[in-house]
């Protein structure tokens, strides 16, 4: 083969270029620790990393939301625990007072304690976390209960996304917990468990919510009619099935106020009548606490899952995009040696010429 000077030259240049570009790639890998620094290094890997990163980001945000929801639920739970204690105490006191041996002034004293408890219950019903009322439904910035136990919140549930398409409600509305609405078969239509996730869903949701509200308002109106204003706050009606609309939950405010009145009025039968509803109220609270417990469990489960996915994604990303440093260092050495050898032999080759031997 005929070898000419230019051939030598371009071959040397090519080889040096090749070694240098290899070295620069390896150096880049060594200094960034990444095997993929641009999509074309590994298109499939790069896309995977990109979507994993997006998922990590989303999951971390879901986690923040879940954290917030957990705090809300746990605060609600502690309030309900306190409330249950109060009801238990009220029951104890009512039992004491129901006995005739305790008649006279002790009933009045017990009534005073119940009055204190009632104040505390009212305070609990209006408890806040930060700016938000716990038991106001969607109207979180409006005090849900007036002194008379009038509810001005709604039955809205605040749903928090915990993962793609998964939502957990983080609040219990006050009308359910304290007024017992929507607990028994009182004909009240409860909010839908589904969370709208698209524009169409949202439109349907708005329509069905409006319908629900209208029907519930109708219910409320008919309720007032059958009972009549005179019956409001009357302990005698509590716990008894309504002949028209069937059974319902316990209105804790009415119950406690009725008990207080009965105690102060030294009304033995009134007190005795309150005993069973107090048990019902406890049940109602326990039911609510169980619901919270269930939700917290769900939250914890999804947090566990999310954390695991985050770690999996990170591990996966590391596997895909991180450079194997040992490999890189070994390759670096190899390329370095190659470059040195190229330079050394090139130097010798270029200097060789017949002219050097002609004197």
């Amino acid at each position: 083969m005929r070898v000419t000077d230019k051939m030598n030259q371009s071959q040397i240049m090519n080889n040096i270029q090749k070694s240098r570009s290899e070295l620069s790639t390896l150096q880049n890998q060594a200094s960034t620790g990444k095997r993929i620094t641009k999509p074309s290094d590994d298109p499939i890997g790069a896309t995977k990393v990109l979507s994993n990163r997006g998922e990590i980001k989303n999951l971390e945000q879901f986690e923040r939301g879940a954290q917030n929801a957990r705090l809300f639920l746990e605060t609600t739970e502690s309030v309900l625990a306190q409330l249950s204690e109060s009801i238990v105490r009220a029951k104890e006191l009512a039992l004491q007072a129901a006995n005739d041996t305790n008649g006279g002034s002790p009933r009045e004293m017990i009534g005073a304690e119940i009055e204190q408890i009632n104040g505390a219950v009212m305070e609990m019903a209006n408890r806040r976390i930060g700016e938000r009322y716990l038991f106001a439904g969607h109207k979180t910035l409006t005090q849900p209960f007036t002194k008379d136990g009038e509810y001005s919140g709604d039955d809205g549930e605040m749903k928090i996304g915990t993962n793609k398409g998964h939502f957990i409600a983080m609040n219990l509305s006050g009308d359910k917990v304290f007024l017992g609405r929507g607990v028994g078969a009182d004909g009240k239509i409860k909010p839908s468990g589904d969370t709208p996730q698209s524009v169409d869903d949202l439109q349907n949701y708005k329509i069905s919510e409006a319908e629900r509200e209208f029907k519930n308002d109708e219910q409320d109106e008919s309720r007032i009619e059958t009972r009549g204003p005179a019956n409001v706050g009357r302990i005698q009606r509590l716990g008894k099935e309504d002949p028209v609309i069937g059974g319902e939950g316990v209105n804790i405010f009415n119950l406690m106020q009725g008990l207080e009145v009965a105690l102060k009025a030294n009304d033995k039968y009134g007190i005795q009548d309150a005993l069973e509803p107090l048990d019902q109220a406890l049940n109602q609270l326990n039911l609510a606490r169980a619901e919270i417990g269930g939700r917290v469990n769900q939250l914890n489960a999804s947090t566990d899952g999310n954390q695991k996915t985050i770690i999996d994604n990170k591990v996966n990303n590391s596997l895909v995009e991180d450079a194997d440093l040992f490999q890189v260092m070994t390759d670096l050495n190899k390329s370095d040696t190659t470059l040195k050898a190229t330079l050394e032999t090139s130097g010798k080759l270029v200097n060789m010429s017949l002219l050097d031997f002609l004197r």
């Binding site: 083969m1 005929r2 070898v3 000419t4 000077d5 230019k6 051939m7 371009s10 071959q11 090519n14 960034t32 990444k34 641009k38 999509p39 074309s40 290094d41 298109p43 790069a46 896309t47 990109l50 990163r53 997006g54 980001k57 989303n58 945000q61 879901f62 923040r64 939301g65 917030n68 700016e131 938000r132 106001a136 439904g137 969607h138 109207k139 979180t140 910035l141 709604d154 809205g156 605040m158 749903k159 928090i160 996304g161 793609k164 398409g165 609040n171 969370t195 709208p196 996730q197 698209s198 524009v199 949202l202 949701y205 708005k206 919510e209 995009e321 010429s353 017949l354 002219l355 002609l358």
Partner: protein, 470 residues
């Protein structure tokens, strides 16, 4: 019987021919580094013999001509493959730049800001009453818009860059064709005398290759005159004999540089941009018209769909003040959407409390609409319900990566082919100093010997002339 003065003549011819050979050798050595140079050699022939009685006796050597060592078929191959190489290089460089725009391996890019946008609605869903969460939503929306616009701008800049590449390339083509036409003229005038225009041909071969590096050309040599006719693309005749035609550039309505060819002087002008499928200009046109345009469209569709879908949901909702939600993104309703003009609704920009989270008026704790908006991130709302926003974008990034990877390796392969061909060409046409040095010695010795012949003839004359004196 040979004559003594015949010897003198023979010696003189020997001197001359070796001198010519030495000159050619020196020419080779001097042009060792000249690009496109083919080594030349003197075609030495025996000069016609003379009759001496019954014999024909040799009269030495003469130069038949000086020719270059060159393989025209190889040159043509290099031109072809070189044109492909320039095309691959043009595509690879273009794609590498696009890849740079979409490279999120080390920095936060569009995908990150889309996630941030939806995450800010997740945060709002957690705190639907919060003014801070609303401010974050507003700022992240603006950040996402900016990111879209920045990507769009970078893609536009790429188009501009490719445009100026094409424009500059056309300018170079015009220079080259002018020079080729001149060389044609020179070669014609030289070769009509029967000698080879070696250096001019070398130069012309080189220029043809350079031309092929720019665009796809077809060329053929007129065997009678030795001139080269060159056509660019299919119809753009650049060089015909000693005349040449200049290409021109124009701008299309959407601001793309096009390559124009004038059919006759002052005649109609045709757009031959689409005829270029090879060469650097071909590569630039391909990247500009296919890849960049496609990507610009994708980004536009993505930004439009996100803004439009979020708007639809947002307008169903109710803001912090219990009012019906407005458009979050200010997009034209007549379909004339361009990313450049995408912006946040002015009134929301001024007052973040107009961002809607609720599905009912007057319930500040309602987060239903915020939930719907952040759920849109996982809904297949692109390509008629095929992809989510993320999938759509990530698939595009993957596609760019794959294209770039493929083009890079195509470029490497093509470079190897061209290098190999060039090596082969150098093996045939290149100058080897060792060879030239040994030739130099050879011709120098022959030169000396020829001089010795003249001296010998001179002595022979002396011998003959001295006969009379004896």
């Amino acid at each position: 019987m040979a004559k003594i003065h015949g010897l003198l003549d023979l010696g003189k011819r020997g001197l001359m021919i070796n001198q010519t050979a030495l000159q050619t050798t020196s020419h080779n050595i001097a042009n060792r580094g000249t690009e496109g140079f083919s080594r030349q050699r003197v075609d030495v022939q025996t000069s016609p013999p003379v009759w001496e009685g019954n014999h024909r006796i040799g009269t030495g050597a003469m130069a038949g001509g000086i020719s270059r060592t060159n393989n025209p078929w190889l040159e043509k191959q290099i031109e072809r493959e070189g044109s492909q190489l320039a095309f691959a290089e043009g595509r690879a460089t273009g794609l590498q730049k696009i890849e740079g725009v979409f490279n999120e391996q080390t920095i936060k890019g569009l995908s990150g800001s889309i996630s941030d946008f939806f995450n800010s609605f997740r945060e709002l869903a957690s705190n639907p009453e919060s003014a801070v969460a609303r401010t974050v939503v507003r700022d992240n929306s603006v950040a996402m818009i900016n990111n879209f616009q920045s990507v769009d701008r970078q893609v536009d800049n790429l188009t501009k860059e490719l445009n100026s590449q094409i424009e500059a390339g056309v300018g170079e083509i015009n220079q080259i064709t002018k020079e080729i036409a001149k060389l044609n003229e020179k070669i014609l005038s030289v070769e009509i005398t029967g000698t080879n225009a070696n250096d001019e041909r070398d130069r012309r071969d080189l220029l043809v290759k350079r031309l092929a590096d720019k665009v796809d050309i077809n060329y053929s040599e007129d065997t009678k005159t030795g001139t080269l006719n060159i056509t660019a693309g299919k119809t753009g005749i650049l060089v015909a004999g000693t005349s040449y035609e200049q290409l021109r550039t124009g701008r299309t309505a959407d601001n793309k540089i096009q390559v124009l060819y004038e059919l006759s002087d002052g005649g109609s002008v045709v757009d031959i941009t689409d005829q270029f499928k090879r060469g650097g200009i071909g590569g630039a046109i391909d990247v500009r018209d296919n890849i960049v345009t496609d990507i610009k469209n994708h980004i536009e569709v993505l930004s439009y769909n996100i803004s439009n879908e979020v708007n639809k949901a947002h307008m169903e909702g109710f803001d912090r003040n219990g009012q019906q939600g407005q458009m979050l993104f200010d997009i034209p309703q007549d379909g004339q959407f361009v990313i450049e003009n995408l912006k946040l609704n002015k009134s929301i920009q001024d007052d973040a409390s107009l961002i809607a989270a609720a599905a009912k008026p007057n319930s500040v704790g309602d987060n239903t609409t915020a939930n719907v908006i952040h759920s849109l991130q996982f809904k297949p709302l692109m390509n008629d319900g095929q992809y989510t926003f993320d999938d759509f974008y990530n698939a595009k990034v993957g596609q760019i990566g794959t294209l770039t990877q493929r083009e890079n390796s195509a470029f490497e392969t093509q470079k190897n082919i061209v290098d190999q061909l060039k090596n082969t060409r150098e093996g045939i046409s290149g100058v080897n100093l060792d060879e030239e040095a040994s030739k130099m010695i050879e011709f120098q010795k022959s030169f000396e010997a020829s001089a010795r012949i003249i001296k010998m003839a001179d002595e022979m004359f002396d011998t003959v002339l001295s006969l009379k004196r004896m």
